[in-house]
């Protein structure tokens, strides 16, 4: 016997991939008919994000800063201009600010209210950056979150969390790993991960 009344909420969650795909096709078909979009525009823009933009760009800027002290000063003073000099910049990074990790300070980036992220240096954000666990905890329990990424900045280090609530976009300049003296920019760039550019970890150690 059951006579359950209205549920607290209606619907079944999560929705299936098939349902969403059908809805998006319906939207696209209407937008195409109204001449607001076309498949070549979708192919173009999605391929840019799939093939061109990504953490390798932030890694390149970081390696340059480790390699070239003057570029590092420029990057920390005006990240947008410094990145433009090496052909990095654009949408969702119109005004970038780079936060330097040091022996005493470790920086972490989050957007608690939505999903703001520095696209020109990192591409599109991973889902975890946009989901409630990270957004709720990064500002309150940053050390706990870093531990889940296998990283401990050390008890004496001050953790600075940057909540990207406006149109400024933050990213982290990780510390240059020890044992990389004399490395080339390309070799250095290979040590810079997406997670280190967000401050969830350090850059990788040399093998």
């Amino acid at each position: 016997m059951t006579t359950q009344g209205p549920h607290p909420v209606s619907g079944t969650f999560p929705r299936s991939d098939e349902e969403i795909a059908a809805r998006v096709k319906a939207m696209e078909s209407i937008l195409v008919e109204k001449d607001f979009i076309a498949s070549d525009a979708i192919d173009y823009m999605s391929s840019v994000f799939e093939n061109e933009l990504g953490p390798h760009l932030g890694a390149r800027a970081t390696a340059r800063a480790w390699f070239d002290p003057e570029f590092k000063l420029f990057l920390l003073a005006d990240a947008t201009a410094a990145c433009r000099e090496i052909d990095i910049g654009g949408i969702q990074g119109e005004e970038m600010i780079v936060l330097e990790n040091t022996e005493d300070v470790h920086n972490v980036v989050v957007c608690t209210l939505c999903s703001c992220y520095p696209w020109p240096v990192l591409g599109l954000p991973p889902n975890w950056y946009k989901y409630p666990a990270y957004r709720s905890r990064a500002v309150r329990d940053p050390r706990g979150v870093m531990a889940e990424f296998g990283f401990d900045p050390g008890d004496d280090v001050e953790v600075k969390v940057w909540d990207s609530s406006a149109e400024l976009r933050y990213w982290v300049l990780p510390r240059r790993p020890e044992g990389t003296e004399g490395w080339s920019e390309e070799e250095l760039a290979a040590l810079v991960t997406r997670d280190s550019l967000l401050g969830l970890t350090d850059a990788s150690a040399p093998e």
């Binding site: 349902e19 979708i42 991973p126 953790v159 609530s165």
Partner: protein, 224 residues
Amino acid sequence: MDGIHDLGGRHGFGPVLHPDDEPIFHSDWEKTVLVMFPAMAMAGAFNLDEFRHGMEQIPPHDYITARYYEHWIDSMIHYGVERGVFDADELERRTQYYLNNPDEELLPSSKPEMVETLKGMIASGDDYHRPNDLPAKFATGDRVTVVDGPSLGHTRRPAYVRGRTGTIATLHGSYVYPDTNAMGEGEGSEYVYTVEFSGEELWGDEGANSTVYIDLWEPYLLPA
């Protein structure tokens, strides 16, 4: 509004599940949704702040169980229907059709001038600065308290800093003001500051040896 999106400091969401190998697009439909954002914005369906406000209005259970780009879909439909881009019945009819015919793909279509526009947009982005003739009220080092109290419309003044006192770290210039721009009340122009809060101010003992920086518009701030 005081909705589920205002997540900073809320409990209960568990560990951060972060696979090593997450793809850039998890399904093909995500590519379409990504590009529908600039397409619909250019069509006048919404501005960036409205788009965010649309996502905030997703029912809480849906907000926290949906995949990320479903938020975009919901906000696009919200404004698209409101502003005549979509007819709700027609959208539902076509959705059912594609659900019943899952192998049917849309025909290729071409809009070369849009490709050019997107190229420029990806390279240059947008400009959210708006000139403001008035002097900024605060300067680096000033102590400020965030306006407390609830919110009815769109705001970027999260609950976890309301009523808290911090220090102006940086003045960034004047920008579009989300609280009016999302509500059809004009772009406005307000100074944005990075404000520094001690972890203790926000979280008590939990916040020891941590600092939170957040960008706040001038109307959110009062002299402390």
